[in-house]
């Protein structure tokens, strides 16, 4: 992989300034959220596993990139520390697929993450 490419794994996120590529693969029901500030040239990508962190014991430290509700603020915060400004942020979302037709009562994990992550 070239020096300028960062690979983001599951429950992971990365930010970069100026030049480079941030990549993640194999989303499945996971959701990839890409944020970009084209003015300050800061990009970020998160590969999110679950919609919300409600089952997580917040008294322990945990990997915030796992959950949409904790990953997005973290991602934005990291981008801001590289000089990004919220007002410039544009988002693209991918993933949230239903690979299997799980017999379920509610909506799929992917759909839940997408709803949780609504970024304008």
């Amino acid at each position: 992989m070239e020096d300028n490419t960062i690979k983001v794994k599951i429950a992971d996120l990365a930010v970069k300034k100026n030049e480079g590529v941030i990549v993640t693969v194999g989303l499945g029901s996971c959701v990839g959220i890409a944020l970009y500030d084209s003015v300050n040239k800061v990009g970020g990508l998160a590969h999110i596993l679950l919609a919300d962190s409600k089952l997580q014991n917040k008294n322990e430290s945990f990997n915030k990139a796992k959950f949409a509700d904790t990953a997005i603020p973290l991602l934005i915060g990291k981008m801001e520390s590289l000089g990004a400004e919220r007002k410039n942020l544009r988002a693209k979302i991918a993933g949230g697929s239903q690979l299997f037709n799980f017999q379920k009562k509610g909506i799929s994990i992917g759909e839940k993450i997408l709803l949780q992550s609504s970024v304008s």
């Binding site: 693969v25 990997n63 299997f100």
Partner: protein
């Protein structure tokens, strides 16, 4: 994180359990394929960082057929039977001679039934050895990147600890050119019970 530390003794015990369980499953598969000889790599039981789990079956971007079964009962575990698309085709033509091995309704049905039989045999053996009773769900299938399949199954079953226990084995038929991977993911509560039955806790 797991409530207790998982050490090498425990992983070793899981490996042995998987060995016998999957051995039983492979015997069934062999019978199904007309007594064809099948090689089975001794299962590996590992504690893998969450982030690396989707890559456990190798190249995560290659499309594969994945049959997923959730077994629940005294403990819960997830079984994934993953084949390359070529192997899937070979399996289908072996079981329905004369067809092209395509993933049409009948072809998919073959993969699902094979997943069902493999899992059933595995669970039968585990039950005999541990006294635990688990019943499988009807199998489901996806054709997608192996990484996507694994991560989807983990998300669906909340297998999201920072370290995930994986039991994995590779099987290979001698004649029909079918290579498969069987991946078993026990959930946290399952491990505690199993280890306690095995006298490791």
């Amino acid at each position: 994180m797991h409530a207790f530390k998982i050490d090498d003794n425990m992983l070793d015990a899981l490996k042995e359990l998987a060995n016998i369980g999957i051995g039983n499953a492979v015997t069934s598969l062999s019978q199904l394929l007309g007594e064809e000889k099948i090689n089975m790599v001794i299962p590996v039981a590992t504690l893998v960082p969450l982030q690396d789990a989707p890559e456990s079956l190798g190249e995560e971007e290659i499309p594969v057929a994945g049959v997923y079964i959730k077994a629940a009962g005294d403990v819960d575990l997830t079984v994934l039977f993953v084949l390359s698309l070529d192997s899937a085709a070979n399996l289908i033509t072996n079981l329905i001679p004369g067809t092209k091995g395509g993933l049409d309704q009948m072809g998919i049905s073959v993969l699902i039934e094979v997943g069902n039989i493999l899992t059933g045999s595995y669970l039968n053996a585990v039950s005999l050895m541990t006294g635990l009773n688990l019943l499988p769900s009807p199998p489901q299938i996806a054709v997608d990147m192996s990484g996507a399949i694994i991560s989807t199954v983990m998300a669906e079953n909340q297998l999201i600890d920072d370290e995930v226990v994986l039991l994995r084995t590779t099987i290979r038929t001698m004649e029909s050119r079918i290579d498969g991977n069987i991946l078993i993911l026990p959930d946290g509560g399952a491990l505690e019970k199993i280890f306690s039955i095995l006298g490791l806790r």
